[in-house]
Amino acid sequence: MLILAIDTSTSAITVALHDEGRALAERTHLDARAHTEWLAPLIESCLAEAGKRPSDLTDVAVGVGPGPFTGLRVGMVTGLTMGHALGVPVHGVCSLDALAAQAATLVEGELLVATDARRKEVYWARYAVRPGSVERLTDPAVDRPGELPDEVRALPTAGRGPVLYPDLFASPVPVLDVDAAVLARVAVSRILAGEPMPVEPLYLRRPDALTTAERAAR
């Protein structure tokens, strides 16, 4: 199973090639505003480093967010199109799950993942970290960080939430952005377990506009 993993839901544009339980190559570029420019060349150079051709891929895994919409879509449409062009399945992974898996080596017990949702909000979810397993306890949500319950904000917290709101998150975990190599690992274990992995974007917010009916009702 040669899997290409892509995530563009955080500040990292991250790509990895994963085969038989190990990452063959990985590329990450930090720039939350240039996904369109960087992503395809990163994939190309990952393949080149591993000495693989696109047609060697057996699967594509893509982070489905939540994350800022514009960048998120670049990664998702890239994964979906490559899957279609190569005739291989595309699997969606909640990007917060990848961050939780990254933090799992540093934390035991409960974990919070809180990422930048812009507009003074965070995307977040709670996890239980046990030896050999990471389980999501809540659905991904978007809220103002100050509105999360105190006991939630007190949990060890991965993602850029604690960097952006240091006063509100008491115990930061040094995992900031998604690492596609870890996302690939999460994807492989779910594929092997036969879990459904829909490639549906987790927007968590509706488009920022009122319908004519809503405007009239104001």
Partner: protein, 348 residues
């Protein structure tokens, strides 16, 4: 690769249509479009985030449908082309990323091309090679441009453009004033057919000094204001608003300015041909008046069929195929989506 007849897939996502077209050389094979216009109608206009979401949903299904309808396999393609600008940034990015993914997966050259140049190039698959030079009038909800086109793959010059609203935007706004649904163009066209040109609305930028400083520019916001004032005055006076006559008079004013300046541009630039493209090119009065003024001036008028005038993937494929035929270099894989790409920049 069959160099004489390259098979090119073109992707267009600059606004609210997800378009995928297939062109072989100068022959149109298929033009598949998924429109999110119904989603936008609920909002009374195009909402960028709604458009971008629809593009992500429709992108791969539209590629699939185009290939299926043309009986083409992706591995048969010779090149990919995509609108890299101008347009809505978030929408462009979906198409550009998808095109890169295709090019990368299939090992094909990628051409990031200008949306406006594509509107011009599409006429090649409809009416054959473009006479050089051609004057092109592109009018839609997003653009109103008058262009001189010596070579659609390498040399396009801007003669003028709107200094405020796009022509199609004016149709949408006036439709709202008249209580007609979005998008306004087709509804005003239909209403105007039952009406008479009874009101002399202003023709922006057509007199004295304006014809010196803004010879080939357009302005429609004054016209829109004049229409709403006229309607308001009727309402205040408690009189009924003759919607069909207002529609006909407004439409006449827009079409008069567009065609007058377009024909003047042809004369002054020594172009024997006028091409009209963009969604507003579907307007029946624009077509009729352009035809009669071109006939009077001895100019050949070329207007692609309505489906190829509105935004579509075929036009992008048509320009991509020209790029291949003329031996232009492919774009780089790190090409950006450029929401404000100037019309003079044909490729990125």
């Amino acid at each position: 690769m069959t160099a004489e007849q390259p098979l090119v897939l073109g992707i267009e996502t600059s606004c609210d249509e997800t378009g995928v077209g297939l062109v072989r050389g100068e022959t149109l094979l298929v033009d598949a479009v998924a429109s999110s216009v119904d989603d936008h109608a609920r909002f009374g206009g195009v909402v960028p985030e709604v458009a971008s979401r629809a593009h992500l949903e429709e992108m791969v299904p539209t590629i699939e449908r185009a290939c299926r309808e043309a009986g083409v396999q992706l591995r048969d393609l010779d090149a990919i082309s995509v609108t890299s600008g101008p347009g809505l940034a978030g929408s462009l990015m979906v198409g550009v990323a998808s095109a890169k993914a295709l090019a990368l997966s299939l090992g094909l050259p990628l051409y990031g091309v200008n949306h406006l140049a594509s509107h011009v190039a599409v006429d090649i698959v409809e009416h054959g090679p473009l006479p050089e030079p051609t004057v092109a009038l592109l009018v839609s909800g997003g653009h109103s441009s008058l262009l001189l086109v010596p070579d659609v793959t390498s040399d396009i010059r801007s003669l003028g453009s709107t200094i405020d609203d796009a022509a199609g935007e004016a149709f949408d706004k006036v439709a709202r004033v008249l209580g007609l649904p979005f998008p306004g163009g087709p509804h005003i066209d239909r209403a105007a057919r039952d009406g008479q040109v009874t009101i002399d609305f202003p023709r922006g930028l057509t007199t004295g000094r304006d014809m010196e400083r803004h010879r080939f520019d357009f302005s429609f916001s004054g016209l829109k204001t004049a229409v709403s004032r006229w309607v308001q005055a009727r309402e205040v006076a408690g009189e009924p608003v003759p919607v069909v006559d207002v529609a006909a008079s407004f439409q006449e004013a827009v079409v008069d300015v567009l065609t007058r300046k377009a024909v003047l541009a042809c004369r002054e630039q020594g172009a024997q041909n006028l091409q009209i493209g963009g969604g507003v090119a579907a307007n029946s009065r624009l077509r009729a008046m352009a035809q009669s003024r071109c006939d009077d001036a001895g100019i050949e008028l070329r207007v692609p069929r309505p489906g190829l005038c509105t935004d579509n993937g075929a036009m992008v494929a048509a320009l991509g195929a020209q790029m291949v035929l003329k031996g232009r270099d492919a774009s780089r894989l790190d090409l950006p989506a450029d929401s404000s790409m100037p019309v003079t920049q044909i490729q990125s």
